[in-house]
Subunit: 366 residues, 2 copies
C-alpha cells in the first residue's frame, strides 16, 4: 500500500532506474534538474524506500543484532546504549534480543541460539553477543555463527570465544577482581567472603577467580563462597545464607552510644568484607545486611563490580571495579561495523574505593 519507487518515477516522468539513482545513492549522478523533479515527486507522494527490498537487492541490510541477557539490567542497558550510539552514527538499526525471556518454542538454555538464528534470518550485517554466555559452548551456536561469518557476517563477542573469525572484546574481569581484592587487602582488610554469580556464567566465574587469586597472593582464603543469581534478590538471599553459614552476629542494637558490642569475625580486627561479583547483587547484599542489623561498613563491608551509573547515588557509596560499560558497547559496535578494526580489543576498568568498604567519600561535588 505504501508508495513505491515505480510511482515516484512515473510521477516525475523518468525511469525507475533514474529515480533509484537519485533517491538512494549510486555511483552515477543524474542531472541536477531531473534529480530535483524526482525528489519533489518523492516528497509529494511521501515515498519511503522499502528497506526489505533494498536489502534483497543489495544483500546488505543496515541491521546490527545485539543479544544481551536482560535489557532491564543496568549493565546491559548501558552497554546497549553504547552500541546504539555508534550504530546510529553509521546509519544502522539495532535489532535487540534478550536471553532471559521465554522463547515459546526454544528451551530456556537455547535463547541465545534462537536469537542468533533470528538475526541470521534477518541477515543482519553483524551480530554482537553480549549475553555473558554459559560456559557450555553450544556447538549448534558455533556452527550457525561460523556459517554466518563465512557468508560475510561479522560477529563480536564480549569475552573470549572459540568461534573462528569472530572479533572479541576482552574485559578485565579477572584482573579487575584481583586488583580490587588486593586494594582492599592493602587497606587492612583480612577477612573475606565471596558472593559469586551463577556458576555457569563466564563473566561471573572470571570475577570470582580474580577475587580468589587476589586473596591467595596475600595468603588469604575466602571464609565462604555463596552462589546466586546476578540480581538484587540473588544478592539478598545469598547474603542471608552467608550470615547463617558464618554465624555472623549483628551488633547489639545499642544505638544511643553508637558503640558496637561485637564484630565479626574478630572483635578487635577489621570487619568482614563481602566481595560480590556484580553491583546489582551487591546492592541486594547490602539490603540484607541492613535488614539483619549490620551497619555498613562498620560491621560488614561490601564491594561490588561494574560501577553501574545508577548506583552511584547509593549510600553508603559502593566500593567496586568500574567498567566503562557505555564505551564497551561503542567498541563492540565499532568492531562489528568497521571491518578494518583489529581484534581482540581489551577493556580495563579501575578500582573505585568508596564508603561501603570503609573509605571516606572524597566529598564529590559531583
Amino acid at each position: 500500500m505504501p508508495v513505491k519507487l515505480t510511482e515516484v518515477a512515473r510521477e516525475a516522468g523518468v525511469s525507475l532506474a533514474t529515480a533509484s539513482r537519485v533517491l538512494n545513492g549510486s555511483a552515477r549522478t543524474p542531472a541536477e534538474d531531473i534529480a530535483k523533479r524526482v525528489r519533489a515527486a518523492a516528497e509529494e507522494l511521501g515515498y519511503v524506500a522499502n528497506a526489505q527490498a533494498q536489502a534483497l537487492a543489495k544483500s546488505t541490510t543496515g541491521l546490527v543484532g545485539l543479544v544481551v541477557h536482560d535489557i532491564a539490567d543496568p549493565y546491559f542497558s548501558t552497554f546497549a546504549h553504547g552500541v546504539q550510539k555508534v550504530a546510529s552514527l553509521s546509519h544502522h538499526q539495532v535489532l535487540l534480543a534478550g536471553t532471559d525471556l521465554p522463547s515459546e518454542d526454544a528451551p530456556p538454555g537455547d535463547a541465545e541460539l534462537a536469537a542468533v538464528r533470528a538475526f541470521i534470518s534477518y541477515r543482519t550485517d553483524a551480530i554482537i553477543l553480549a549475553a555473558s554466555r554459559v560456559t557450555d559452548e553450544d556447538p549448534r551456536l558455533a556452527a550457525a555463527l561460523e556459517r554466518y561469518i563465512n557468508s560475510g557476517g561479522r560477529v563480536v563477542v564480549l569475552g573470549a570465544t572459540k568461534i573462528a573469525g569472530a572479533s572479541s572484546l576482552m574485559v578485565a574481569n579477572k584482573a579487575g577482581a584481583m586488583a580490587l581484592a588486593t586494594a582492599l587487602i592493602e587497606h587492612g582488610t583480612t577477612h573475606f567472603a565471596i558472593l559469586a554469580g551463577p556458576a555457569e556464567r563466564n563473566t561471573a566465574r572470571a570475577r570470582v577467580d580474580g577475587f580468589v587469586e587476589g586473596l591467595q597472593a596475600a595468603s588469604l582464603v575466602p571464609l565462604a563462597t555463596v552462589h546466586g543469581p546476578f540480581t538484587s534478590r540473588g544478592g539478598y538471599d545469598a547474603t542471608v545464607d552467608l550470615i547463617h553459614r558464618l554465624g555472623l552476629l549483628a551488633p547489639t542494637p545499642n544505638t544511643t552510644t553508637g558503640a558496637d558490642t561485637s564484630r565479626f569475625p574478630s572483635p578487635s580486627g577489621s570487619p568482614l568484607c563481602i566481595l560480590v561479583a556484580n553491583d546489582v547483587m551487591a546492592l541486594g547484599a547490602m539490603t540484607a545486611l541492613r535488614t539483619h542489623g549490620f551497619r555498613i561498613p562498620d560491621d560488614v563491608q561490601v564491594a561490588g563490580f561494574d560501577d553501574i551509573p545508577t548506583l552511584r547515588d547509593h549510600s553508603p557509596a559502593l566500593t567496586t571495579y568500574r567498567l566503562p560499560l557505555e564505551q564497551m558497547g561503542q567498541r563492540a559496535a565499532e568492531l562489528a561495523l568497521e571491518p578494518q578494526l583489529r581484534s581482540p580489543v581489551t577493556i580495563t576498568g579501575e578500582v573505585v574505593l568508596r564508603e561501603s568498604a570503609g573509605f571516606t567519600a572524597p566529598t564529590t561535588g559531583k
Copy 2:
C-alpha cells in the same frame, strides 16, 4: 552466499513450493515422508530462511519498532523488557531506537522522526512510541505515522496522542502525582517544593500538574519549583539550586547527641518535602541533600515517581508512585501486536510510602 530454499528443494528432490510449505508454515500440509526429507536437507545444508525475502513476498516483516528516549534509563529499559517479552512470545523481533543519541543528519529534535522513518522504511509491523515526546507535536511525524497506519501499520503511543488510528496507553501520571501529594499531606507534611523534569516533556508536565493540584486541594502551594533534566545530575543540580533559593539551612552537625538544632522551614513543624518528577532525579536530589548536610527524612523529605526496581534497595527507601513499567511494556506490545485489542488502555500505579518521606519501612523480608 548462504544456502537458499532452491538448493534445499533440489537436495530433497522436491519443488521450491513444496520446500517452502514444509519449512515455513502454510495452510497446505505436505505428506509426512516428503516433509521429513525436506527438513533433513535443510538441516544438513544449514538452511536459514531469508527474512527479508519473506517479508517482501508476504508483506509483513515480523518486526516491531520501539522508540525510547534513553535505553540506559531504567524507566525505559524496564519498559523495553516488557515489550521484548510479548514480542518474543509472538515471534517478533524488536528494532530499538533511542531519541537521546546523535543522529548525524537529523537535528537533535528530529531523532524521533528519524527513528520512525527508519522503522517505516523497514516496514515494521508496528511502532511503539515510548519516548515521552515533546509537547510540540511535529506535523511531519504525524503525517508519516498516519500514512503508515493507513498502509496497515499499527502504532501505539505512551500517553495521549492526536494521531488518528493510533492506540494509546494512558498512564496515570497526573492522578498518581496527585495521589502521592495527597497521601503526604494526610501524613502531616505541610511544606513542599517541586523538582520538575524538562518542561517540554509531556510526562514531566503531567506529573508536576498532579503535584500542584494535589497541593491545591489542601490549599497549599509549592514553595518553589525548579526544572531540570530527568537525570541524577539534573536532580542534584536542581536541588542545589533549591537549597539556595529557599535559603535552606543544614542542621548544625551535632552528631554526638543526634539532636537537630534547626529545621526548615518551621523549627517546630514538619520538614520540607521535595516532590520530584521521577525517581532517577530524586536520587540525585537525595545525594545533593546528603552532601549539603541534610538528613533524610529528618531534615528534608523526598518523594519520587516510578518506583524503579533497581532503586528499591536504596536507603533511605524512596517514597514514590509505583508504575508497573514492565507490564506497561507488555501492554504496549500487546496493543501493537494484537489488532483486536481496544484502546486506550489505562495504566494506574500506587502510592508507595517509605522512609524518605518519614514512613517506617515495614521490615520487608523481601
